[in-house]
Symmetry: C2
Subunit: 302 residues, 2 copies
Amino acid sequence: MTVCEVGPRDGLQMAKSIMTTEAKCAWIAGLAAAGVREIEVGSFVPARLIPQMADTDAVVRFAKGIAGLTVVALAPNLRGAQAAVMAGAHRVSVPVSVSAGHSRANLNRSPDEQVAVVGGIVAWLRETAPGVELEVACSTAFGCSIDGVVPETGVVRIAAALAAHGVSQIGLADTVGYANPAQIRSVVRAVRAEIGPALVGLHLHDTMGLGIANALAGLEVGIRDFDAALAGLGGCPFAPGASGNIVTEDLVFMLESMGFATGIDLDGLIKARALLHQGLPDEAMHGQLAKAGIPRIFQRAA
Amino acid sequence: MTVCEVGPRDGLQMAKSIMTTEAKCAWIAGLAAAGVREIEVGSFVPARLIPQMADTDAVVRFAKGIAGLTVVALAPNLRGAQAAVMAGAHRVSVPVSVSAGHSRANLNRSPDEQVAVVGGIVAWLRETAPGVELEVACSTAFGCSIDGVVPETGVVRIAAALAAHGVSQIGLADTVGYANPAQIRSVVRAVRAEIGPALVGLHLHDTMGLGIANALAGLEVGIRDFDAALAGLGGCPFAPGASGNIVTEDLVFMLESMGFATGIDLDGLIKARALLHQGLPDEAMHGQLAKAGIPRIFQRAA
């Protein structure tokens, strides 16, 4: 069971203020100390578009020094992927929007054009940095605040095209948080029928309050890799209406309570929340576990 | 699919201020106008213990005038049940705690003593008011903030004792919100194996952020009757740490999105939230749907 923390990337890009590099590094170290083993630490995008990500190179270099941590960096194109590899990221995460409207707004390319960009990144990595992993997140796989309904066949088509390019780690993202549990099950099954084990994970948002229920639905159809953000930070600057990622600590509480070992310690996450709050004092922090406290009767999975 | 609104009872008993009878009635009328067909409108308990419930008689009499609405009132004992029947409630809801500590704190009786009280209410209703329904909510069925872990065998034992007394509507309540989805499935299956269709519903709290996921788990094992509170109001004065009920509008959004017809209109619930806020302006209101708005692509179940 893998919970990948995406707060330092997806969480921060909507933040009202800029978190310092030092504060980011302290937060990332706190997450790793809690047992988080995968962290998406930033994105290699132009600083004029997302100023919160201007120091991603330094953050990747810091995070690389944490033993046992898989350092993930987002890159929208080959240039960004090259920067991620140069900085030392273990894995590059590239977004491909399933809906044309979000693709245009977020990447200024059509979905098919972005699939071709991924093809170029696959080829370059194979040639230049064969040890670096590549994952692709299919954005707006469950609905789009610009285009509306996203047909399941469209998701399957994009996932198949990515798999045909040799991408072996493909995730489905509910970028705007419109998914419901029945849809999660249906889309996961349809995509898996097409690409098999190359479908690895879900990236869920809690816009409508269904994020954790959607994670449960994913769990039930075999997903074992979830993105989440401490305190439910996050959103997408080009998807109006989108709000925070699912809350890492609430997700971990559910998984551990159900007997799934995440390797993550809840007390450690609560401590990491304090570091996040120190570094970003004006940002709203979500999550029920932190409000209610860890129940005395909570038992970690073995 | 039935969503029973319990805000006017479970929601209000923890409220910091007293809602006027007029405001309660306006809120209840708003809920009914949104299509809510069952509302637990109050409880017949001593006003010195829960002053928010002092006007339950008047509220029941008002709610009885709304065509098509099933009016539910909570009663902890025979005297309360008699008052509920006198006021005209269609259904009396009686709590039985599974855990001894909560039973003592909430009812000042042991669980077995309270089962005997239920037996007396069954006999009295049969004799005096055969048209009035009786339901029993098994409190702390998934954990207790006083006693800690609540064994599944204890829940089954209490449910069986209630069924033996002829109670045909039995619900399981996660009074303090400690349940996880795997536990929901397990306890529902164990209780159903013992009492069959007399197990009708779930009463869930969102203390740990798992309330909607727990509802999904219940849905998957055949539960079609859920309690919820508008804006997630609620708690239990004798269960430290307990926070709000699951949010009616978020639950309805999930159910309708998944294709389950609730008969409830989300716009109507948003309007009822405004009435609740007018009547109780200092109370925190929860729920994601109201924050995010109803997505343009939302489709009601047919």
